[in-house]
Symmetry: C2
Subunit: 337 residues, 2 copies
């Protein structure tokens, strides 16, 4: 059975392209309160996993030992755009833990934020590992290894203690006892595949930390607080994650992931949201998340956030020639919590 169409792209009077996918929304009791499509198939959360990958940084006491603030915690959860606000903080953090950019296992890639990228091209400056959108997460991994006084080299390997701690935390939060299959993410760190239903359950625990043990409760609280306090550090100027969190005035923490994943934590409603677009399209995961936040009353009035729900398709003359919109499956739902 194919997953339902979640998002449509129109041109003229016709639907030109469609995006299928699945959505799971769970509460902290582990109940699935809403779903669309197959929520039992194994999928990689990719960067949507970052709030969980940041847990050892807090639970180990490393963040406290190195005096990290919410800005660094936000960066540990970030897929950032490589802007100076990101790279200067990551560079300073690396220095604080006695590490170098060359200690980062993530490779360089072009900076996402155009003005910064164009300035670098003009200066003839190549991107460094600090520019990698995952450099904050990796600095978090290094910080834990430093705190535990174990080898930093190889921290990205599946069997390194930092990665094992993440796998254990993910298993506990998602309620999956068995070893999860894993693949290598774009940044060279392991990423674990699990059902959308299980990941939504893990996110719901972040929404209702009082259901967790003291140490973990504090860690999840701190992560949600840091993400919502510094939306641009989690993403970048004008990015969807920042737009959603700003428009919701901190009432939701969201995190995009590559290949069409999107995760959400809604403390007020005690919910975790996990969605995946089958074909991996970010344009669709953003509109699907916008539709869900809208139904939850969390999309807000911000024009940029509304534009992610119903986005104009423009041509090179900037004429509007079509629209990106939620399909009926998402447009017609209503939540009652």
């Amino acid at each position: 059975m194919a997953n339902p169409i979640l998002v449509e792209i129109t041109r003229g009077d016709l639907v030109e392209s469609v995006h299928r996918g699945a959505v799971a929304i769970a509460n902290a009791a582990g109940e699935i309160v809403f779903s669309l499509g197959d929520i039992n198939a194994l999928t990689y959360p990719r960067s949507s996993l970052k709030p969980i990958q940041a847990l050892p940084l807090l639970e180990s006491g490393a963040a406290e030992a190195f005096g990290l603030g919410d800005e660094e915690i936000a960066l540990a959860c970030a897929s950032h755009s490589g802007e100076p606000m990101h790279t200067t903080r990551v560079a300073a953090w690396l220095e604080r833990i006695g590490c170098q950019p060359s200690d980062l296992a993530c490779g360089p890639h072009p900076v996402r934020y155009e003005p910064v990228w164009e300035a670098m091209v003009k200066r003839g400056e190549a991107p460094s590992r600090v520019h990698n959108n995952c450099s904050g997460k990796h600095t978090g991994f290094l910080t834990v290894a430093r705190h535990w006084d174990i080898a930093t080299k190889g921290y990205e390997h599946h069997d390194h203690p930092v990665q094992r701690a993440i796998a254990v935390a993910l298993g506990e939060l998602s309620g999956i006892a068995r070893e999860l299959p894993w693949g290598v993410d774009g940044c060279a760190a392991p990423n674990y595949a699990l059902p959308l239903s299980a990941f939504a359950r893990a996110l719901a625990k972040f929404a209702v930390p009082q259901t967790l043990s003291g140490e973990r409760a504090n860690a999840t609280r701190r992560i949600v607080r840091a993400m919502t306090a510094y939306p641009e550090l989690v993403s970048g100027t004008g990015r969807a994650c920042a737009t959603f969190m700003r428009s919701a005035h901190g009432r939701v923490a969201v995190k995009t992931g590559a290949e069409g994943y999107f995760a959400g934590i809604v403390p007020d409603a005690g919910l975790g949201i996990a969605l995946k677009i089958d074909d991996g399209a970010t344009r669709a995961s953003e509109t699907a998340m916008a539709a869900i936040l809208d139904k939850l009353g969390l999309l807000g009035d911000d024009a940029a956030a509304r534009a992610l729900l119903n986005a104009p398709v423009t041509n090179t003359r900037q004429t509007i020639v079509g629209e990106r919109r939620p399909a009926e499956t998402l447009a017609e739902i209503s939540f009652r919590f």
Copy 2:
């Protein structure tokens, strides 16, 4: 009924994302000799329409009157990368017909070929309308208007005689008598929606020009000759269209289109190929076309062409972490013509 999965993206041991779509292959008699998925739904060929949009340029006698060579005909069919080989030829052609870049109705957009784009950024040079990937097509439209001695202004409007001539040609070649629905393409020109089956029939006519009237037969022959003689002018350095046409040693003319369309003309086999990825992903349309060309014995041995069939997914460390590959639907077919 959802279309079948045509292309898969793996990571580790799992399929991470999938692309659904439909394929129609027709012969010049109008028979569908192979299909997958719904080939009757209306879809926009987008830039895959360009060989048909170039017909009035030849059939009107405009190309002959202005002494155009195969290089200009290839550019009229191009979605080019904005490299100097494209822009200098388009600029010279515009001059030859007494037009200016400002006469082009397509808007500017960043140049696709990275080295050229980076050099422009370094020089502080903004892209012009000549850099638009459709500037050759638009110069072709202007050439016809000049030849007919009619207004060039408004040549991109649906009711302009140049666009009407294209709509008539498309109707005749595809065998659809009624007016086709249309939308505005990225370059501001009209684009017509029709079933994959009908567009495959139109392309098959290009493959077997002897089934056409003298003037149209000559025009389609010239277009196929120009596209296969100048693959890089139709696309750009390292692009999929150039790669396929080079690897097939001119035995196939192919043309990509936005939102996951791909068209092919196979003179040897007398076939036209039209495919569309439901979600609009180019990565999938390229792999689907590679799979079909492979089954037709036309993919060749070129490493770049084989890499479009089975493309490694790499991370930022350039480690291979997955694969893009044809799904069983495409991997297991065999053609017998």
